[in-house]
């Protein structure tokens, strides 16, 4: 379970995250939606401590992460899996070595077991026969998928995905969405997904929060989202013709 309490973040006196609180349960796919520039990336980075909040705090299963020092955080971070918006693969390492990286750092498996585990994760995201290539030699969508494989390598307890399926074709996007939901339920992970893709929201969202200009405007489930009376939310989701048709 991840709880955020009154998170505020300013950059040069401009408020980017304005007093956001939420509770995300384990075993659930929690989705943060909002327009480009609404603060989704800043919020997810604040949760994992890459950005320090100006006020407010984050609890991981009641452990106050914000109050911890680097070494205390380190332990909890080994339970994190994070997919960055740009992938953030290590470009000096091959695809296989990227996925092996967290295993080499933190697991006590034998070399053979680590490689097996890395291959298993790559296959999970539908990647085969590319493990010897470097990130610069594969497509953007493949990089995203390698990033997901790397994030799930250590069986994380908390999974953070910043737009995991942007830049993917509709078929692969659905595969990735399903994968995220599947492992979330199977391993009882607390998963947070940033997206502005309504397909993902309707497909895998258990709990959804909508942020707009740094404020939380709405939260609920996917069954409620089409019938809310929040104007900002409706402007966001019904900008797409398809969703308007679905509602009808």
């Amino acid at each position: 379970m991840i709880e955020a309490v009154n998170i505020v973040k300013k950059f040069n006196n401009k408020i980017v995250i304005d007093n956001i609180s939420f509770t995300f349960e384990s075993g659930k796919t929690n989705i943060i939606i909002g327009r480009s520039g609404s603060g989704k990336t800043v919020l997810i980075k604040t949760l994992v401590g890459l950005i320090e909040p100006d006020s407010g705090y984050v609890l991981f299963d009641s452990r106050n992460f914000t109050a911890m020092n680097f070494n205390e955080r380190k332990k909890i971070r080994q339970e994190f899996g994070m997919v960055f918006q740009g992938g953030a693969l290590f470009d000096s390492l091959t695809v296989l070595d990227n996925v092996l990286f967290p295993l080499n750092m933190f697991s006590n498996l034998t070399k053979k077991e680590k490689i097996e585990r890395a291959r298993f994760c790559l296959n999970k995201v539908n990647l085969f026969n590319i493990e010897h290539l470097y990130p610069s030699e594969i497509s953007g969508g493949m990089r995203k998928r390698v990033a997901i494989a790397r994030a799930i390598a250590l069986n994380p307890r908390y999974l953070f995905c910043d737009e995991p399926n942007s830049g993917l074709d509709p078929y692969t996007a659905v595969v990735i969405d399903k994968l995220i939901k599947e492992i979330t339920e199977e391993f009882n992970i607390t998963t947070i997904v940033n997206t502005h893709d309504m397909n993902s929201v309707m497909g895998i969202g258990d709990k959804i929060i909508f942020i707009h200009e740094g404020k939380k405007y709405w939260e609920g489930t996917k069954n409620e989202i089409l019938n809310s009376d929040c104007k900002e939310l409706n402007d966001f989701i019904f900008s797409s013709e398809v969703i308007r048709l679905i509602k009808k």
């Binding site: 890459l50 080994q78 953030a88 290590f90 470009d91 750092m105």
Partner: protein
């Protein structure tokens, strides 16, 4: 002024983070060996070439500058030897490596920063400063002195080569000069300098790369700053160390 103090403080804090306890020894060893290749082995060629030419020029210039018949010509050998040992092998090599190694480190770390690879390391609970920079420091403080020793020998040999090729002076006289009034402490002094220069080049350049925010443009600027400031630091510490070590 305040900005300079701020930067010095930030630099010192970075050093503190680099030297806080590293996690997995084996992985550091592997990284260090890789860095020795990148920082050390790859620089042998350029150091050799520069030192040959430097030694040659020093020998030729001294020969032409000795016009007084009372000054024995074998002093050319002595002067070339001492110039190479005292100053050129460490300072020139330091400056050349500030250009080559410094820009390389700053752009590597800067790219990792702007493509979120450093964030990825941090989110996994890895002390990115220590993981990325410590192996470079070890490689440099180990290899800069070796390159300096190489430079001394090759430079003195370059002087001999110039004397032989141009026939401005009998080669035996040059050799005789090389043996005359040798002060072993000069070698220690220069090795201490090269050790310090290695540390400065890596840490100053790493500082500009590690704290580089933005995009490709900023990475370029960081790499320029790395070269300029590590060169300045070399010149400054050259004076300081000379004053400390050579004056009695």
């Amino acid at each position: 002024m305040i900005k300079i103090l701020y930067q010095i403080g930030e630099y010192l804090l970075l050093l503190k983070r680099i030297f806080s306890r590293p996690e997995r020894g084996k992985i550091y060893l592997k990284q260090t060996i890789e860095e020795i290749g990148k920082i050390g082995i790859n620089s042998i060629g350029i150091v050799t070439i520069i030192s040959i030419f430097m030694g040659a020029v020093i020998a030729i210039q001294y020969t032409y500058n000795i016009e007084n018949p009372l000054i024995p010509l074998y002093l050319v050998g002595l002067a070339t030897r001492d110039s190479m040992i005292l100053e050129f092998s460490s300072t020139m090599v330091g400056l050349v490596l500030a250009g080559k190694v410094g820009s390389n480190i700053a752009s590597e770390l800067g790219t990792m920063r702007v493509t979120e690879q450093i964030d990825a390391l941090e989110s996994m609970g890895i002390n990115s400063a220590s993981y990325l920079i410590l192996p470079k420091i070890i490689a440099a403080i180990f290899f800069f002195p070796l390159l300096t020793i190489l430079s001394m020998f090759v430079g003195i040999w370059g002087g001999w080569l110039a004397v032989v090729v141009t026939k401005i002076l009998p080669a035996e006289l040059y050799i005789q000069g090389l043996h005359y009034a040798f002060v072993p402490f000069y070698v220690t002094y220069t090795l201490i300098k090269s050790f310090v220069f290695g540390f400065l080049v890596v840490t100053v350049s790493a500082y500009y790369g590690y704290y580089c925010y933005g995009g490709a443009l900023e990475v370029g600027q960081a790499s320029t700053k790395a070269v300029v400031y590590s060169s300045l630091m070399i010149l400054l510490f050259n004076v300081i160390l000379t004053q400390l070590l050579l004056t009695r």
